[in-house]
Amino acid sequence: MSNISEAMQAAVGTVTGRTTSYPISESDIRKWALAVYWPGQPPAMFIDPAAAAKTVHGGIVAPEEFNPFAWIAPAHEAFIKNAGKLENNNPDNPEIALGMSGPGLKFQLNGGMSVEYGVRMRAGDVITSESSVGEYSEREGRLGLMLFSRGISTWTNQKGEMVKRTTGTLIRY
């Protein structure tokens, strides 16, 4: 028995959306660093242009995990039309968003994320994020047959250089 339908299998690789960020500001980087190092002081490379100029980056770069899409993004395109209505905490949301039926499993948990980094983000950069459907897999676990589904998001900067590729895993059972 499997919870992975043919439609789910066929959806793997589908590009679902594209979001573009506002230009990153030094202020965004500084506040991010202040928050994630609080109550300690962030490294000078994130808050002091003179100190940052002496690093291999030659200026302020954002922490690797910085999110340029926080709060608002000027442009978002969704490529999936006729998607169903998402409901809060509905475990079938990933498939509903693709316009198909989900496996109808009752529980879900965040299975973590895996990230690969490319070039650094800098003040002035405009980042584009493209989302796509990753692989499905299943495994028998202590909670029964567990479904692993993955979402992939690839970030590039305005020069087309890869900044980050994130694979998020959702576990349902």
Partner: protein, 130 residues
């Protein structure tokens, strides 16, 4: 600096609660009831409000960043969020070198609490700064 397999890298430690979570919510626009409201956290089965997985993710980066130095690189990371980070826990990000291939260093990384409860185990690859 010479790095060897088995090396334990310096930790990154934070006592966690609303003071950290609210700051992270502010920069990441992550205002989710389960992270702001004890009742919502409890309804989600966590005994109260709990911290963002993304903030533990950031703390693991902070630890690695100090290890590789400002000219170093964090090449990749993966973690699993196994248990919630609840109020009043002292969270420690840990790392141990598990492999060295050329100039790429692999590490086992994790966060745990003052009681040794492992919250988010994972792995990372880095390159030391020159």
């Amino acid at each position: 600096m010479t790095v060897n397999v088995g090396d334990v890298i310096p930790t990154f430690v934070r006592e966690t609660g609303f003071a950290n979570w609210n700051r992270y919510a502010a920069v990441n626009d992550e205002f989710v009831p389960i992270h702001m409201d004890d009742a919502a956290g409890e309804a989600a089965g966590n005994g109260g409000a709990f911290g963002m997985g993304n903030l533990q993710w950031a703390y693991l980066h902070n630890m690695l960043r100090a290890f590789v130095g400002e000219n170093g690189e964090i090449l990749g990371m993966e973690v699993q969020f196994r248990s919630p980070n609840v109020k009043g826990q002292t969270l420690t990000a840990h790392g141990v070198v598990t492999g060295i291939e050329g100039d790429v260093i692999s590490l086992e990384i994790w966060t745990d609490t003052q009681d040794g409860l492992k919250l988010a185990p994972g792995s990372a690859t880095v390159r030391m700064g020159k």
